[in-house]
């Protein structure tokens, strides 16, 4: 009897363990064999919007850059701002405003440099975005950056909403960003989460953040083909 019950308990624990494993991988469509997936890239964890948050200081968030080709995170923004060494800048509050590297755009940290970045939103799931808009469309619909939806103007397309009741950032589903890398290659981006562990839902305002989970695909041949499946 004793033996059996022990086995039962063991099996129970194991099954729970397995279940949680499958839950962690509940986004099977993330892996498509072509895209790069970045999990829990930490932003500025030392800053806070409020006084009195443990281990954090109320101050502006420090920006960082990200280079797609080798997944490099660059924190020395002063040195590299006007270089082609980065493709995406994670700026502003909770590093949540993602800018492209553009030498021509005063809103880009790369302003004055050589970057060719542009970015726009497409209301389709990531895998359905198979062709980038033309360069002319990219230029005319350029958002410069993506962050809070409908901010700073109502026509801006962001990657997240805020839930007013809970003060939680909720990623916009079914929206994909097509952008140009610093060197002008077409690419697409899906930002999945700002919370650690990429939880499907967050109910705790103090869930660790900002930890970015996102995926992207760069078309290296210079064409607009963004097929990933």
């Amino acid at each position: 009897m004793k033996r059996i019950s022990r086995n039962v308990i063991f099996l129970f624990v194991l099954s729970v363990g397995l279940a949680s494993c499958t839950k962690d991988q509940e986004n099977p469509q993330l892996e498509d064999g072509k895209s790069t997936i970045i999990k829990d890239l930490p932003g500025d964890l030392g800053a806070s919007m409020a006084d009195g948050v443990d281990g954090k200081v109320k101050r502006p968030f420090e920006d960082f850059y990200f280079r797609l080709s080798d997944k490099a995170q660059i924190k020395d923004t002063v040195t590299y701002a006007k270089t082609l060494s980065w493709d995406l800048a994670f700026t502003g509050i909770y590093n949540s405003m993602i800018k492209v590297n553009s030498g021509a755009d005063p809103l880009s940290p790369g302003y004055g440099g050589e970057g060719k970045g542009l970015i726009l939103a497409i209301e389709k799931p990531y895998h359905e975005v198979t062709m980038a808009p033309t360069l002319a469309e990219m230029q005319s619909d350029n958002l410069s950056f993506v962050g809070w939806d409908k901010y700073p103007q109502p026509y801006y397309k962001g990657w997240y909403f805020y839930d007013l009741r809970t003060h939680i950032s909720v990623p916009v589903k079914g929206r994909t960003f097509v952008f140009l890398t610093a060197e002008g290659k077409f690419a697409k981006l899906e930002v999945l989460n700002i919370y650690k562990g990429n939880p499907a839902t967050v109910t705790d305002l103090h869930w660790p953040a900002p930890y970015f989970t996102f995926r992207y695909y760069v078309q290296e041949d210079g064409s607009r083909d963004l097929k990933t499946q």
Partner: protein, 274 residues
Amino acid sequence: MKTQKIIPFLLLFVGSFLIQSCSKDDPGRPEEELPDLPPATVTKSGEYTVTELPGDLTVSMGGQDGTGDGGFKPVYYSLEDGRVVPEAYVKSDHWDIAFTGIYNSSIWANNGAAEYNPAKGGIGSGGAYLVVDPVIDAKYYDAVKHQPKQVPIDKSLLDEAYSNVQSVPVADPQLMTNGYLSLDYFLGSSNGYAFYDFYGAMFPGNKERGHIVYNLPRPIIIKTAKGNYAKLIIYSFYKGSPRSPTLADKAPYISFKYTILKDGSKDFTKITDN
């Protein structure tokens, strides 16, 4: 503006725009239901002063209970007639400037053709433009940090910037219709008409001096709903227009000065008797 709950405040700030844009979809009321307008105080071109125009004073921004939605009611004002205009007139050409969003700090002109404008579907043909004069900016503004070099900013500098605007500096297509004038470099915005000291950078360590809005010497051009032009300078969003407000000062009470040209002219140096 309370210090304790910064995050909710911030989120409410953005949320208020969302809520507002939802309420925009309300259909306009039929003409016969329109309430009476208050008497006009302006009938001809000239310079006028508006003191402590109250914003929505009924909304608490504490948000400690987590249920506040930050839904400040817009204030619609007619520069042509010098009066507050009820919401029911939102699609009419009876208002020229609207103060919406949190603490009524988002400034719109009346343009019925613009998709996101409060007057969407209405008949107004207005627009807005922020005048940033590099000579004036050099006197008070740190363009690297995007904040004033020091505060308070002399009222005389606001008046100087206003006086320097002698004509409408841009063509109509450059006027903003589908968006609003906002706080300066805050949450992704660019040049704004006021600096919001979110982090208390002007008075480090003094919590009574954080979260203060300082109006900048940056005048605003408003093309009115009827197609005339005005220039405007906002002095303060606080009761009593203190040059260096604290959290104890009450907001939003909007004080501003403007010149309206009721004859379609763009020349602010010549006020005709119209």
